[in-house]
Amino acid sequence: MSDVTGTLLPPSGDPSGPGGDAASPRLVTSEHRLDDRLFRGATKTIGVGVFVLLFLIGLFLFIGALPAFDKNGPIAFLTTSGFNTLGAHPVFGVASMLFWTVVIAVIAACVGVPIAIGTALFIVEFAPARLRRVLITVIDLLAVVPSIIFGLWGLVMLEPRIVGFEQFLSVHLKFIPFFRVTSSVFDGSAFIAGVVVGLMIVPIVTSITREIFALAPQGEREAALALGATKASMIRAVVLPFGRGGMIGAIMLGLGRAMGETVAVATIISVTLSIDPNILQNGANSIAAFIVLRFGTGGSLGLAALLGAGFVLFCFTLLVNLAASFIVNRSRTGASA
């Protein structure tokens, strides 16, 4: 777009150009006028400002968290579990929070991603045009439902109805280590939080995979069908391989969203500060949820520790999301399948 005003004639050294007589051609320069330079400069400032803003977010959290990092050292902050900031020998760190954050995100991805990809395939390949529009609206609507509402729903409606299922898993699938339980309380578990967050990441994963699937080349689709493939085998042979990169990116974006999910998780879980692999029983945690649940407790060191946890979350989600958007963009431009 910037080259629309490009040179038609090389700029001459004569500054009196535009006012010349009708016989000589009008002087066209590649120089922008003053008002355009202001316009371009202003938009560029805002664009760079967004970049600076993201940098500042990280910087301010880091500065706020310095007292916590200094107290026991940054390595200890990452490897310790606990939030005891008031005593003479404070012990605090994000290890267990980080662990549970990842656990909840992975559960959410296991629940949400298959549903989201199935929905995307249905929208692209199976649904009639009218139903397609309705479904896209429903998915968009799901994306704007506030997370506190999902939290209330998960706590009041889903939890009593899913505890039986958790019990079933813990009894009959005991041989899988993380389905084992040490207590018989199934409320407030990472599993329930993961299921709710799984429903919440459906919109983002669906909308990205839908776009990617729709980009699968029409010619190859028709070729597969003309060779006698059923729709299912056509999807397996053409649509899924073509959209593989985009699917991986979408899953990572979903994971990033799930890790940053705050209020819905905070509503559902019962906080634990220990690391144990029992996802079905009472007790879970997540950095974001822990911050809102413990905000204002623990004195100034506690605040610094929470800011430090926020900084860790910021770095973690930023890395995941940058990697994800890189993969999605690559597969969108067709650079790799």
């Binding site: 777009m1 910037s2 629309v4 008002d35 202001l38 316009f39 371009r40 805002i46 664009g47 760079v48 967004v50 977010i57 301010f60 706020g64 298959p114 549903i115 989201a116 199935g118 929905t119 395939l121 249905f122 929208i123 199976f126 429903v138 609507l141 799901l142 994306a143 704007v144 439902v145 506030p146 997370s147 506190i148 509402i149 999902f150 209330l152 729903w153 009041v156 899913i162 039986g164 299922f165 079933f168 669906t206 059923t230 729709k231 299912a232 085998s233 990033g256 940053g260 705050t262 209020v263 974001a288 911050i291 809102v292 926020g310 910021f314 989600t317 930023l318 999301n321 940058l322 958007s325």
Partner: protein
């Protein structure tokens, strides 16, 4: 050997005079047989799982029942189709059923969430609820005492200020990436995309450090607005950029060729063409952030009374829901559900408005005006 092959070929040779009825074969046709197989499989799986779940093993839990029924249905449906149409067709049918049930689960999930909230929260919705605050409500008061006017006003003010800050920034960023460009375009786009996935609590903490914990500001509605603006910016940017991309390049070139400076082209050609799209982007962005709770928890603190000055601590709808449901009183929890329903209603209104405006074709209103102007002239001529 040769005779046998001849004999085999003879029947079709004898038949041609009788013309085959020319029925059009549609591979996607859904015949009555298919319907019977579908309904039969559904019925079989539901009854089987019902017997196992509620009669034999007494496994409780509605979610387990739904999951098992779905799994059983897929197996039964596959077996039934395989015996009738063969393996390949059966796999095809099962994939179609699986994929459509995914879509059904999503629709069902949304309906459950909204329906649950509506049934839990409708009791208090009324004039009184919208016009009173919580300042005179005691712990022993019934749920119907007081209302959420303070939270509604707070939310409207905070979101309004956030839009004033975040929407121009988002739109200008989109203009920069799409219209101006330069070497840093890709970088800025990546950063904005990363910001759209920024955990909401991180934005809140940033504003807390930047604005609230600073000695002379403290918790305020304005701090909440700043946090919401950070969430709003990437949302509005993304949709606006999509809209600007659709504006036809020839329009820009025509404007440039007429000698318009670049800013004039953007202001008078690109933005008006994309007007409905930009309004949609802003409304959708508002719908996304209006229910954000986490950044408000660490920035606005909350209040039980009406506070119209956004520079003081204020209440907001999502924060009210969050604080009320955590109280031990049944009345408070009831208020949380009702306020949540109001919040969802607000989101739905914004979302519907965005959809309606998006469905207006660009230039539609202008054409209507033109026709309206022309009609009297033509009548007189």
């Amino acid at each position: 050997m040769s005779t046998t092959t001849l004999e085999r070929q003879s029947p079709p040779q004898a038949e041609p005079p009788a013309p085959r009825p020319l029925t059009r074969r549609r591979p996607r046709q859904f015949t009555p047989t298919d319907l019977v197989v579908l309904l039969g499989s559904a019925l079989a799986s539901i009854s089987l799982v019902w017997v196992v779940f509620y009669q034999l093993t007494l496994l409780a839990g509605a979610s387990g029942f739904v999951i098992c029924t779905l799994a059983t249905f897929l197996v039964v449906y596959y077996l039934a189709n395989r015996s009738l149409f063969g393996n390949m067709a059966a796999i095809n049918r099962v994939i179609a059923a699986l994929v459509s049930s995914c879509a059904a689960v999503v629709v069902f999930g949304l309906a459950l969430v909204v329906g649950f909230l509506a049934t839990k929260g409708y009791h208090l919705i009324g004039w009184h609820f919208f016009t009173h605050d919580q300042s005179r409500v005691l712990q022993s008061s019934p749920a119907s005492a007081g209302g959420i006017s303070h939270a509604i006003i707070g939310t409207l003010e905070q979101v309004g200020i956030a839009v004033l800050i975040g929407a121009p920034a988002g739109i200008i960023t989109a203009i920069f990436i799409n219209e101006v460009g330069g070497r840093i375009t890709a970088l800025v786009r990546t950063v904005v995309t990363a910001m759209s996935a920024l955990p909401t609590i991180v934005a809140g903490l940033f504003i807390y450090v930047l604005w609230v914990s600073d000695t002379h500001h403290g918790f305020s509605g304005f701090a909440g607005s700043l946090a919401l603006a950070i969430m709003l910016l990437p949302n509005i940017h993304r949709t606006t950029e999509e809209v600007l991309k659709v504006v036809h390049g020839s329009l820009r070139e025509a404007s440039m060729a007429l000698g318009a400076p670049h800013w004039r082209t953007v202001w008078s050609v690109v933005l008006p063409t994309a007007r409905t799209g930009i309004v949609t982007a802003v409304l959708l962005g508002i719908a996304r952030v209006v229910g954000e709770t986490a950044p408000l928890i660490v920035t606005i603190f909350g209040a039980t009374y009406m506070e119209t000055n956004p520079l003081h601590t204020q209440e907001a709808l999502p924060l009210f829901v969050w604080q009320s449901y955590r109280l031990p009183n049944a009345a408070d929890i009831q208020r949380a559900f009702s306020a949540g329903l109001v919040l969802v209603g607000l989101v739905l209104i914004l979302f519907t408005a965005a959809r309606l405006i998006a469905s207006i074709r660009p230039g539609f209103t202008n054409r209507m005006v033109e026709r309206f102007k022309r009609t009297p002239k033509e009548a007189s001529a």
